[in-house]
Amino acid sequence: MKNYFSKLRKPLALLFVLFLASCTQEEIVEAPEVAEAPQIKTETALVLGEQLENPYSVENMQKALNSLQKTGKHADAAKSRKINTTHLYVKFKPTTFDELDMLKQDSTLVLYDYPLDREIKKNGDHYHDPNVPRNKPTPQYASVKVDYQIPSVKYKVLAKLHIPDEDGDFSADKIESNVDKSFSYDLVDESLRLTGNLDEGDIGSSLSAKSKWRPAGTIRVWDNVVGNYIPVSGVQVLARRWFTTHKGFTNAAGYYSCDGRFRRDANYSIKWERYEFSIKTGGISIGLGGFSASGSQAVLNGPKRRGDWNQDLGVRNSTAVRDTQQYYAIIHQGALDYYYGSRLGLGSPQRNATFRRQMKIAAVRDGGRSSHARQRRIYKGADISLKAWGDDSDEVYGTITHELAHSAHWVLDKSSYNRIVDLGYVDVFFSEPLFNGDNPLYPRARNARRLLETWASTIEIVLTRRRYINTLRVNNYTYVNNDYQARTIADWPFYTSAGYDMLETVNQRTTPRLNNALPIDNVSGFTIVQLERAMRGVTTWEAWRDNLFRQNPTNGTRNNLNQLFANWN
């Protein structure tokens, strides 16, 4: 240990100096509002306007009731009606990201990053309370039933609410009689009027005020590989009016229909989050990527309207992903398919559960090298720093798949995974000449790095091909570098084709021309599950090969495994 520490001392000291010298530059910064094309949407913060008078507060509802009594309308009903507290408007103040995660454990709780009783002056795709440091979670706002068991996170009740007109499909306390219903509507209308929240168009329009509508629509994203807008599935769409939110999830056709109805306009939004994962705004990273602890929840704040909301994300005919919401949508689709879809029998990435947390994905608007690092959980950073900005749609999808495959690898065999990372990325830093970490000279580092990246690349190719060929039905589709079959040995020493080579039948070396530049591939007939099974207990390239040989005696090409793996020695 002493010897090891003495080995580490110098680089650690240098690291510390580097950290002090550079940490201020490593903050994620917001990009300027300029991009390659003016119509492309970049990240913008939501801007709040004035504080609104709350029409649903118990006090204001009481005033509305008194007013109705005076007018004589619903006189009998007004006399017998009591304005009790049905809901609480709560501001949660999580002081740590663990506490925020605790709140998110309750899927019935609909949380907003911004206050629900403030005017929205300008829509944006994220909001962080300016009074809260960027490295702390922003307060969360919600409306909860009065008997709701509030999680043990610091909170403040901002208002006691009386909401008589909530009309969810699954509400236990639905209004029964038409008389009650009519009275409740008039009560709400009166309170809206008294608090100055009745829109001009609503005044005197009893029909528009009382006919109900259900939020619904279709969400699609531009895919430059398909050359069209395609549905985004599994998106949670929220429709909110004051303190009532109705939710819907898009199906395979991108269509959603919310679980309740409104009488008036509602604010539509999408939160790029599911129980298992959350997409964070990544900004642009300067220098070292992945410092995404302060990234806000990515959202799409849609219009305030009555009627369907159909949204196409991304710019038609764009040839790469350079629109923020398009970027989120494709990342969402990749993560959703990996977590919730059929995975061809492969293991899952790390799941959310009590004492665990969601997979956090920082959508960095940068085209560098993406990364997966669980260690960032130590300081509540994002597990995945995704840098596929400016790539083709299928590469964005493939890249999130690749990074989640690293997480699944960790779940499959934590000890081996950590050892591979250690060998491929950590040891090299400490044992080789300083500042040579990105160009490891030692064979064992190259070996480990190749194993780690080849396995994730294999899953990347397989799942992306499945999406574009089977789901999206794209003719003549191949993934990057012709499914990696055009990757030469010299130019691609780590992200190799070896894994995919074992699944398909092409021998690149027999294609003319490149002579020895392409690998010899006389292996085929393995399945992705066999490849995964052979990863257990493996920390070297050769050990994976040997497991594959030993575990698959019926594969007629297994004798060629040595030849295939030796391409990269």
């Binding site: 690291l15 398909v226 790469a320 400016g390 400490f430 970490g437 003319p512 530049a517």
Partner: protein, 155 residues
């Protein structure tokens, strides 16, 4: 101690797994007064998406997919065929000028290119570096003149 070192390393550099990466983007520009229709094919069929057919007017550009490389391109021995990967692994391209004249280039694999080599769209050396890892191929009047008359069938 070792774990702490690992944590410190990853926390500070956030570089799991982030080896160096190089980029190369290939761009085609129409510098002629003619309208150029560009279609990419693989094994006789159009490649998917936006490169199956693009129309460029004067000074318009078609930007290929960005290539990521594990090694420094200046050290690469097989860079010459890289533009293929920018256009969805196409093995041929067809230029149609004003719907009257046509010109095509092919590659076999990544090293055998059709003539004239000095104009073949799939060769890295036929692109001019314009900065930001971008490389430009200009369609010129000479290309229009060299193109064949379609005689009514340009496809």
């Amino acid at each position: 101690m070792r774990y702490l070192a690992v944590v410190l390393f990853f926390s500070l550099t956030a570089c799991t797994p982030t080896p160096e990466v190089w980029f190369r983007t290939y761009i085609i520009e129409n510098t002629t007064d003619t309208t150029v229709r560009i279609s990419f094919f693989k094994e006789g069929s159009p490649v998917p998406g936006m490169f199956s057919e693009a129309v460029l007017m004067y000074s318009e550009r078609l930007v290929g997919s960005r290539n990521r490389l594990d090694v420094d391109p200046s050290m690469s021995e097989t860079l010459e065929g890289l533009p293929i990967s920018s256009f969805r692994s196409a093995d041929s391209v067809l230029f149609v000028f004003n719907d009257t004249r046509r010109l095509s280039y092919t590659n076999i694999g990544a090293t055998v290119f059709s003539e004239p080599l000095s104009r073949n769209l799939f060769r890295d050396s036929n692109y001019e570096a314009i900065g930001n890892d971008e490389f430009l191929y200009k369609i010129t009047e000479a290309d229009v003149e060299r193109a064949e008359d379609c005689q009514g069938d340009c496809n």
